[in-house]
Symmetry: C2
Subunit: 712 residues, 2 copies
C-alpha cells in the first residue's frame, strides 16, 4: 500500500457540463490497411510473408472430416513437405544448414496454425521440442549425431516429459535414469503406471526416438530431472526391447497428431545419450554440473524450452485473427430483421449487441498481437545472446507465461463468440470456427497449464515486491514456482511504477470521457496491480514464520486472488504493448482509429473490474455509471473501421477458407432484395394480410368513426 500512497496523485481536469464528444473529429479517422498490416507483421515480416504464402497452399491445408488415421497420415506427409520447402530449419546451426534465427523461426512456425493446427503442433513436437531439446540441452556431439536426421525427418521424435501422474509439475515425474558404471549405461525405468509418459506427440506411431525426461540417479544420489536421448523403434517401426506404449486415440482436436503413451522397463542407453549441457556423469559415475544449485539447474534446463510457450502465444493470436476476420466480414454482409425500414434489413454489425460481442475482442486481439511481437523480440534477444542475462531470461519466462495464458484463453473465447455470432453458418465445419476452436482447446493447458503459469507470474510479482518472498516455501503454489523463486539471484520489479495515480474526486459533471486519456488508463490499470500485489504481500508475509502446513493453508486461502493479480498484471502488460505499438503507426488516420481501439481495450478492462475501482475508491460512482454508455458510443465510432481492422491482419481467402467470409452472403442478400424490389415494382406481389386489415379498418373508420368496434 505504501507504494500507492507514495505515488503522486494527479487529477484530470473537469470537463464542463454538456454533451461530451467521444472523439472530436471522425473525418480524421481512417485505416491505411496496407501500412497497418505492415506494422502488424513486425520485425520478422519477411519470414511471416513467406510462411503465409506456404500456409496458403492446398498441400498443407486441413481437410475437414478425415478420419483420425487419414489425418495423421496427411500431416506426416505435410511434415516432409515442410522439410522440402525449408520451412522449419531457421533455428538450427548454420553449420548444419540452419539459419540460427530464433525469432524468425518462431514467427514462421506459428503461422502454420493457419494451415492446420495439427501440422503446427506436430512440427512443434519435432523441431520445437524434440529438436530443440537436443539443440539446447545437448552438446556438439549430440548436435552432429542427431540434428541432421531430426531436421530432415529421418528421425521423427518425441518429447517425453509429461507423465500420466504429472504434467505441469515436472519435478515430480516418476521416471528414473540410473547410471550403471559397470556397463557405462543409464537404465531408464518406469516404476509405476502413473509414471508412463502421456500425451506424447509422435509416440503412437511415428516416433523413432525420444528425449525422455527422468530423474538422473548416480552413486545413490538423485540429481533431479535431466533429459536423455532414447531410441524407441526400429526401422519397421516396432518398439525396441523394454519399451512399450499405447495410442492415446481420439482427442478433442489436433487429431492429425499421433499422441500416445510410453513406458520403459530397464531400458539401457549409452552414457553419452545424456543431454549433458547442464549436467554430466563421468565414467565413474561422478556427477558434475556448471550450475551448483539443483533447483536453479532444473529451471535453467526447462527455461531453454520457453519457445514452446512463446510460439503458442503467437499461434493463438494468429488463429484469433482468422476467426475475427471471418466473423466481422460475415457481420458486415449478413442482414437480419428490418428495424428502421419496411423493406431493408439491418447489417448485423450495426446492432449494438453485435458490436459489443465482437469489437472488444478485436481490441484484445490487437493488444495480444502487439504484446506477442514484443515477447518474440525479447525471446530473440535472449536466445541470440544479444541480451541474455539471468534477468532477461527471467523476464522472458514471466512474459511468456503471462501472455500465453491470456492469448490462449482469448482465442477460445473469441472463436466461440465468432461461431455464435455467425449463427448456424458458424457451426458448419466448412467455416473453420468450430474446428479451430476444437484444435486450440488444449493450448490452454499444455506447455504449462494456464492456471499454473499465472501462479508463476504472481510469484514473480511478489518476489519483486519484497525480498521476504524470495525464500518462502509457497506451499499450495506450484512447487516449481517456489523453487524457481528460491533460486533467483536478481530481483527487480516487473512492474513499471505508476508515475501518477488517477484521482477521482467524484465531480458530478465528470464522466468516463476522462478515461480516454492514456495516462488515466495507465494509472488506473497500474494502480490496481500494485495495490493487489501490496495487499497480497500483506496477507502472505506471515507465511515465512509459519509451519509448512499452516503456510500452505494461508497461501491456498489467497490462491484465487494470486491468479487474479497475475491476470491484472498480464493485461496491463498487453495494454502497455498496445500503447507502444501505437507509436509505430505513422499515418494519422490509422493512428486515430487504433487509439480508439486501444482505448476500447483499456476501458473494457476497467469495466470488467469496475467493482474493484469502486470498492477501492479509485473511481466515483458518477463516472463509473457513464462508462458503459461511453464504451457503447466508442463501439459505434469504431464500427465503420471494423472491416479494415481485420483486413490489416493480412490473411487472405486461402487462409480463411470460410465460404461465409467470401462475399457469398452479400450475393445472396442482393439477389433476394432484387427479387423483392422487382416483385413490388411488378404490382403482382401478394398483399400482406396486415395491410389489408389496416385498409379495411381505416375505410371503416371513415364511414363510422364513432361506431364501437369489436376487439380483434
Amino acid at each position: 500500500m505504501s507504494q500507492v500512497t507514495a505515488a503522486t496523485r494527479s487529477t484530470i481536469p473537469a470537463k464542463n457540463a454538456g454533451p461530451e464528444p467521444v472523439y472530436d473529429d471522425d473525418s480524421q479517422a481512417g485505416v491505411d490497411v496496407a501500412a497497418l498490416g505492415a506494422a502488424l507483421l513486425g520485425r520478422w515480416a519477411d519470414v511471416r510473408r513467406t510462411a503465409r504464402e506456404l500456409a496458403g497452399r492446398d498441400a498443407v491445408h486441413r481437410i475437414e472430416g478425415q478420419s483420425m488415421a487419414e489425418h495423421r497420415k496427411r500431416v506426416f506427409e505435410q511434415m516432409h513437405y515442410l522439410v522440402e520447402h525449408k520451412a522449419v530449419h531457421r533455428v538450427f546451426p548454420k553449420s548444419l544448414g540452419g539459419g540460427e534465427d530464433h525469432g524468425g523461426n518462431i514467427a514462421g512456425f506459428e503461422e502454420l496454425v493457419i494451415a492446420d493446427p495439427s501440422l503446427q503442433i506436430k512440427a512443434g513436437v519435432q523441431w520445437g521440442l524434440f529438436g530443440a531439446a537436443v539443440l539446447h540441452l545437448g552438446t556438439e556431439e549430440h548436435h552432429e549425431k542427431w540434428l541432421p536426421g531430426i531436421m530432415n525427418l529421418e528421425i521423427p521424435g518425441c518429447f517425453a516429459m509429461t507423465e500420466t501422474g504429472h504434467g505441469s509439475d515436472v519435478a515430480s515425474i516418476g521416471t528414473t535414469a540410473t547410471f550403471d558404471p559397470d556397463a557405462d549405461e543409464f537404465i531408464v525405468n518406469t516404476p509405476f503406471r502413473a509414471a508412463w509418459k502421456e500425451y506424447i506427440g509422435n509416440a503412437a506411431i511415428d516416433g523413432l526416438a525420444a528425449v525422455v525426461f527422468a530423474h538422473l540417479i548416480t552413486q545413490g544420489i538423485d540429481h533431479g530431472v535431466h533429459a536423455f536421448y532414447v531410441p524407441l523403434r526400429n526401422g519397421e517401426k516396432e518398439f525396441l526391447p523394454g519399451i512399450g506404449g499405447e495410442d492415446d486415440g481420439l482427442k478433442g482436436g489436433l487429431n492429425g497428431i499421433d499422441n500416445g503413451r510410453l513406458h520403459f522397463t530397464n531400458v539401457r542407453i549409452p552414457r553419452a545419450n545424456l543431454l549433458n549441457r547442464y549436467g554430466d556423469v563421468d565414467e565413474h559415475g561422478t556427477y558434475a554440473s556448471p550450475i551448483a544449485s539443483p533447483g536453479r539447474r532444473f529451471f535453467t534446463m526447462l527455461g531453454t524450452l520457453v519457445q514452446g510457450r512463446v510460439s503458442l502465444d503467437g499461434a493463438a493470436v494468429a488463429a484469433t485473427k482468422v476467426g475475427m476476420k471471418i466473423a466481422i466480414h460475415y457481420a458486415s454482409e449478413r442482414r437480419q430483421f428490418n428495424a428502421s425500414s419496411d423493406t431493408a434489413e439491418e447489417v448485423i454489425l450495426d446492432y449494438q449487441r453485435h458490436q459489443r460481442r465482437l469489437l472488444p475482442r478485436l481490441a484484445t486481439t490487437y493488444a495480444a498481437s502487439f504484446a506477442h511481437e514484443e515477447l518474440l523480440q525479447k525471446f530473440d534477444d535472449v536466445f541470440s545472446g544479444a541480451h541474455d542475462s539471468d534477468e532477461d531470461r527471467e523476464d522472458l519466462e514471466t512474459l511468456a507465461a503471462a501472455f500465453k495464458s491470456l492469448s490462449t484463453w482469448h482465442a477460445l473465447d473469441t472463436l466461440r463468440e465468432c461461431r455464435e455470432a455467425c449463427g448456424g453458418a458458424g457451426f458448419m465445419a466448412e467455416n473453420r470456427l468450430t474446428s479451430l476452436r476444437a484444435d486450440l482447446d488444449v493450448y490452454a493447458t499444455f506447455e504449462g497449464d494456464n492456471t499454473v503459469l499465472l501462479q508463476l507470474v504472481a510469484k514473480r510479482l511478489l518476489a519483486d515486491y519484497a525480498k521476504e518472498f524470495k525464500n518462502v516455501d509457497f506451499g499450495m503454489m506450484a512447487r516449481f514456482v517456489a523453487e524457481q523463486a528460491t533460486e533467483l539471484t536478481l530481483h527487480r520489479t516487473g512492474l513499471r511504477r505508476a508515475v501518477q495515480t488517477f484521482a477521482d474526486s467524484g465531480d458530478e459533471r465528470r464522466s468516463a470521457v476522462a478515461l480516454r486519456d492514456e495516462d488515466a488508463q495507465r494509472s488506473l490499470l497500474t494502480d490496481r496491480v500494485e495495490t493487489m500485489v501490496g495487499n497480497l504481500a500483506g496477507e502472505l508475509k506471515v507465511a515465512a514464520k509459519m509451519p509448512k502446513e499452516q503456510a500452505a493453508q494461508l497461501f491456498n486461502s489467497q490462491q484465487n486472488e494470486l491468479i487474479e493479480t497475475a491476470v491484472a498484471h498480464a493485461e496491463l502488460l498487453q495494454w502497455e504493448a498496445f500503447t507502444r505499438g501505437l507509436d509505430t503507426i505513422k499515418d494519422a488516420g490509422t493512428h486515430e482509429v487504433l487509439t480508439r481501439l486501444r482505448d476500447l481495450f483499456g476501458l473494457c478492462l476497467i469495466e470488467r473490474n469496475l467493482a474493484w475501482y469502486l470498492m477501492n475508491g479509485r473511481l466515483s460512482n458518477q463516472r463509473a455509471r457513464t462508462l458503459g454508455d461511453y464504451i457503447n458510443r466508442l463501439l459505434a465510432r469504431l464500427r465503420p473501421h471494423a472491416v479494415d481492422l481485420v483486413d490489416a491482419f493480412g490473411y487472405e481467402q486461402q487462409h480463411l477458407r470460410a465460404p461465409i467470409a467470401s462475399g457469398a452472403e452479400k450475393e445472396r442478400q442482393d439477389e433476394a432484395m432484387a427479387y423483392q424490389r422487382k416483385e413490388r415494382a411488378s404490382g403482382n406481389a401478394a398483399m400482406d394480410e396486415k395491410i389489408l386489415i389496416e385498409r379495411v379498418k381505416s375505410a371503416g373508420n371513415k364511414i363510422s368513426k364513432k361506431a364501437p368496434r369489436k376487439k380483434a
Copy 2:
C-alpha cells in the same frame, strides 16, 4: 424507479465485531444422496429412470471417432431402437398408441442427450418437431394419415422452417405456398437462393417428407407463414420432381444427424396438405382462421412448438450434470503438487482456485435444474390443458426463452471449464467433455438464437412494466418480439415485486455475512431487475413518438442493456426456483448443504454484478469488499459435500463413460504412493541432491560457522 422507492426498505441487523461464522454448525451439514437424487428427478421421476436405463445401454451410445457416414447410419438405426423400446411416443394421441403425456415426453426425451446428443436431436427432429408440427398444427385427418408413420419411423421427416437467409426471424422467410383453385393445390416455391431451407435435420438423406413453412398466398393476399406437409422423396430415397437439395456436410458437432438444404421449384401439393388448425383455405381459395389477427395467429402457431426450447433447456442441464460429475470426481482423486507435506500431494479439489472454478458452476447447475423442473411443469400444465390461458402460454414462452438461453450457455461454459480442470485427460475424447461441448455448441443458437430470445424476454419485461410499450414498434429488436407484444391481450408483471429492498447503511462492522440471508439476496436480485427495467423504460418511452428510423436508433442504443436486463431477470427466476426447490428437501443436513449452495449461487450473481450494486448505492464499499472472501470461505464449507452433490444427479458409470471418473486415477495415485513409501522404507531410495547439499552445508556450518561462504 418509483417501484423501488415505493417498496418498504428493511435493514439487516448489524453483527457485532469479531470473526463471523459462515455457517454456525458444520456438523449438521451432510447430503442424503438418495433423497436429494429423488427430489432432483422431479415430477416425472419414473419416466426419467426409465429413460436413463435406456440411455445407459450400449446400443444407443455414441462411438467416438466414427466417420460422419457411420455415425449417421448408427443414429438412424438407434432411432428404430427407440421406436421398438417405446421411448418416444409418450406425447402422441392415445388413440394412436401414444400416452398424451406432454411433460413426461420431454423428460424422457431430454435424457437421450446422455446417450448421444445426435440421437437426442435427431429424435427431436422426427418426433418433437416434424411429428409435433403435424400434431399441433394439423387436424384429425392429418393425425390419422401421417402420425402412425411418423411414430413408427416409416416416414422419417423434416421440419423445414429455417432458411439460409433467415433463422430466428421466421416471419421473413422467402418460401411461398400459393393456392391454385383450379387444381385445388398449393404451389410451394423457393424464389431465390437465400430462401433455400437450411440446416434441416433429416434433409440430406433420410427425410421422406417435410413440414415446410411458407407464406400462404391465396387470392392475392399473403396470410403469413403457415405449415405444409410436403412429400420429399420416393421409396428409393430420390427427390420427387421439383425438389432439390444439398448435404450440409460436416458440422462442429451433432454429426450423427444428416442436416441439409432443400429447395422447391413450383412443387404442387393437395390443398389438404395445409396443416390447417390455425388457418384454412376452402376450395374457392377463401382463407379463414380462428385467430383474426395475423400476428397473433403466427405466434400461436410458433408457440405450439415451444417444446423444442423446453427440451433443449433440460438436455443442456443434463449434459452439464454429466460434465460436472466427471470433473468433480476427477478433482477429488487427482493429486498434484505437494504443498503442505513433503510426501503427499494435494487433491486438486482442495485448491481454492479449483473450487472457484467448479463449485459456483455446480451451484448454477442446481439452479438451472430446479428452474427446468418448474418450466417443464408449466409446459405440461399448458399442453395438458390444465392451465392453458393466453397468460399461461405467454409465461411459458418467456420462461422457455429465458431458461434455454441461460442453460445452454451455462452448459458450454461448464463443459469447457471441466475440460480444462481435467487437464490433458479432459482433452481425450474418451472422457466425453470435448465431445459433449462440441455437440452442444449449436444449442446456443438453434431453436431461437439466445441473443434474440433474451430480447423477447426483455420485451416482455417492458410490456409488463408499462402499457405504452405494448404498441411500440421495437425497431432494432427482433420483429417477432415486437409483433408478439402488439398482440398481447393480457399484461401482468412477470416479476414478483420485491416486498422489501435491501438497505445498506455501510456500517463498517457489516460484512457480506448479512447476504447469507435469503430475503437479502431476493431483495438485491429483484431490485436490480426492477431498476434496470424502470431505467430502460425511461430511456425508451419516447420511442413511441419518434419516426421509425429514429426509434430504431434509440432502441439500438439500449440493446446491450436490454439483453443484460433479460439475463438479470432470468437469473433471478433461477434463484427463485432454487429457493423453492429447497422447500422440497426434508432432510435437515441436505437442506443445510443445499442452502449453502443456493447462497453460493446468489452471492456469485451479486459478485458478478457488484459494480452495479455499488454504483447504484445498493451495497456499501465495506460490505462489498468482504464478499469475495466470504464466497471463498463458503466454497471451503461446500467442498466436503461436492462429490455427494454430483452423485445426487443420479448418473452412473454407464452414463458417464469417462475413464477419469471411474476411480482409475485414485488407483494410479495409490500405486505411486505405495511404491514411494516402500522405497523410503527399504533404505534403497536415492537421496535427493538438495538434501545432500543441506547436509553438507550444515556439516560445514558446524565446523566453521563464521567462515564466509560463497554464494551458490
